[in-house]
Symmetry: C2
Subunit: 494 residues, 2 copies
Amino acid sequence: MVNLDERLSKADYARVFPGLEQDLGECQRAARKAGVPVVIVFEGWAAAGKGSVINRLAQTLDPRGFEVHSTLPPTKNERLHPWMWRFWNTLPAAGDFAMFDRSWYRRVLADRIHGKVGRAECEAAYRDIDEFEQQWIDAGTVIVKFWLHISKKEQRRRFKRLEKSAATAWKVGKTQWENHRRYDEWKTLVEEMLERTSTAAAPWTIVEATQGRFQRTKVFETVLRAVHAEIERRAAAPRVEPTPMRVSKPSPTDGPTILDRLDLSLSLDREEYEQELGKLHKRLFDLEHEIYTRRVPVAIVYEGVDAGGKGGNIKRLTRGLDPRGYKVVPVGPPNPVELAHHYLWRFWREAPKAGHIALFDRSWYGRVLVERVEGLCGETDWRRAYREINEFERQWSDFGTVLVKFWLHIDQDEQLRRFEARQETPYKQWKITDEDWRNRKKWPQYKAAVVEMLERTSTTYAPWTVLEANCKLYARVKAIRTVVRAIEEALAGR
Amino acid sequence: MVNLDERLSKADYARVFPGLEQDLGECQRAARKAGVPVVIVFEGWAAAGKGSVINRLAQTLDPRGFEVHSTLPPTKNERLHPWMWRFWNTLPAAGDFAMFDRSWYRRVLADRIHGKVGRAECEAAYRDIDEFEQQWIDAGTVIVKFWLHISKKEQRRRFKRLEKSAATAWKVGKTQWENHRRYDEWKTLVEEMLERTSTAAAPWTIVEATQGRFQRTKVFETVLRAVHAEIERRAAAPRVEPTPMRVSKPSPTDGPTILDRLDLSLSLDREEYEQELGKLHKRLFDLEHEIYTRRVPVAIVYEGVDAGGKGGNIKRLTRGLDPRGYKVVPVGPPNPVELAHHYLWRFWREAPKAGHIALFDRSWYGRVLVERVEGLCGETDWRRAYREINEFERQWSDFGTVLVKFWLHIDQDEQLRRFEARQETPYKQWKITDEDWRNRKKWPQYKAAVVEMLERTSTTYAPWTVLEANCKLYARVKAIRTVVRAIEEALAGR
């Protein structure tokens, strides 16, 4: 039950509030030190005072470390991306605060009541929100969510007051009054939303917002408690150093893996290759235009054994394409800014726009490959990543993105041949480093990680295609053919 | 004279081109190593083959290190910023390549012929472009600019060919044919543009684009030459280690500086302060709304002596504002990504959007203050910065941005008092570090740098206001009053 008459006397407020402000400053420094990102979401009735309580927080926090995001209806560019894209972009770095004046909940409230989102989309949105918050929380983010509550009568009173001043009258327009009339309809949706999205890790706090003093105090207290809880949780958690992957001795009951069953002798001669390539390029060129006009985004992921031929394969695929229609996203070790964010953050930012192709030269699968093998992240992290990646790709797929994922495979002998060739050819020497030789020694670990990755992340909406790449020509033709088919199927299914 | 019949035989091409591709790969690695950013601009007649030559470069370059930018008409969001803003955002980092399929030259060509830019704006654009390229070049950027040239007849032939295929017919619409009819008009503008913007450091290269082989070869050769020239220039340049600033002994002929003439005893008592503050806040609240509806951007810069009270001043200024209308941009030492860019890059990105207020807690003036005093950049760098900053602010001002710049000044005794108070108050201790004490020892250097900064960067469009800040209350009221007046004047002048 919400008691909208909650009040705090001037005297009590003066006794309590300055202390809270001071605590919040210290809390921010502690969060910075512990590397905790903090997300504070404000939803609530129009005129409930979101702006002023956010401003009060902004006044209290050190500006080197927070941002305020106002969530308006999506812009044209934002609509060309999966709907969660713009929120991923605003993800705070470790130690930073982000405050949202309205948020992703817009999609299950305003967009729904205004008929922009149907029942089915709304259900999908609930699931997306749940996964999204869970992913952020699993990465150690604190999410505090406030619903600022006032009665219909109080809202009316406030609208009238706002209308009296020239500086604020613009805030109350037809839409606001229309929403006001539909207060009870809204209330039903709000109740559903609160019920469905109040999780143990990110519960809603309903704030009785009739009085500013009370509201501010409750908000400050709630934020303080949530952030301290996470800092304490981290301090108490046993520190487990990630360790490089080990592989157990093979057991006689192990069957051959998908990689063992590949026919790496598959090949094409130069003539067949040129002929096939010519046909496929022509087709792909037409398709690039068609996905552009029909606004289909395409994401192509390249992973593979070192020296498997990713670079050359990408080059053949893009030859002849219009460079305005595609981008190659090379993925290396994360830079410091990327390291301070959720590992999927930098990939969300590179989501291909509707009508465009993005080719990822290595990808988010680094989490379950190099990071797992080398012990760059903890075991819980890479174990959780399979689910996270499937969710991530499903959101892109739901938006209509065609996902094609390649694993370029060669055997150890072929790799050795290529490494040696690189060392002997002056203009290829830069391509071979000590790290390549080190990685080669970990062949069994990588193989096991790849097999598990292929098994756990091949989905109906984002299947893996393994390219038998001992013969580069064969692998190139197969790659382009796979892309052509995937796009054709997607276009046919629309 | 342009000979549009330039041709390269198949045999010559086969002999030369593969070598160029290989050289470009090596050139990219050399540029990466030397930290040279490379900008390649493609302008030219429609259907002259911009797309395919860019694609060929993209094929040849390592994707870990280049981006292709297509310059379309500005989006709604881009139009809310100074026109050069979007190009600053695309600035490549040290060692990266950026290729532009059309560019900032759009403004003196297409926008002009289509009547979106008048004669006066076009003149301003020429100046902006000149300054912009010069600033990038001074920071060590290579800029290569190509005009791809074909005859009117050849263009017609190509349009007809494009129209024949479904995949390319969309490229030739009414606009293209209309432009084709006006080929000669365009030509006059193109000639003017080439003449006015061909500088020694960033000359135009006219590429006879009738034949693909010839065009590709010339483009590759030109890029290679330009990048190597810069790498050699850097290798040959004597390495001067930046040194911390020294101040010469004062001479008896030195007059008092602007800082010596300040009346730091200016003060307000608490009652006057509260009264003034109340009035000013009310006014500022109204103005925040007015600049929003009238789409006026406002940038407020805070610089000042350590412990001069910047933070508290900013807090009082923003108290009561709608947080959706302003942002505080705290400026610390640049992160690695920022360090790899032009020093103004990160400030351009934070340009306030039309209708919004941005408060900079420290700013681009770091270049001529801390970087100069501590020897973090070379002497030529900070000397050049006065002009660069004036140009930068003028571009914002031309767009209509109201610029207010504060220097908060206190004397050495007051600083000592505040430092000591911070050390004694537990919840303020985090505010005082060893660095503050070290900086304090450099008071004479900082003072000299500040005086020169105030003298050289106070302009009619972006004047400095010195705040006598020994009394914090006085400084706060003066700051808000200054902002209120500046906005009022700007609104009155529109």
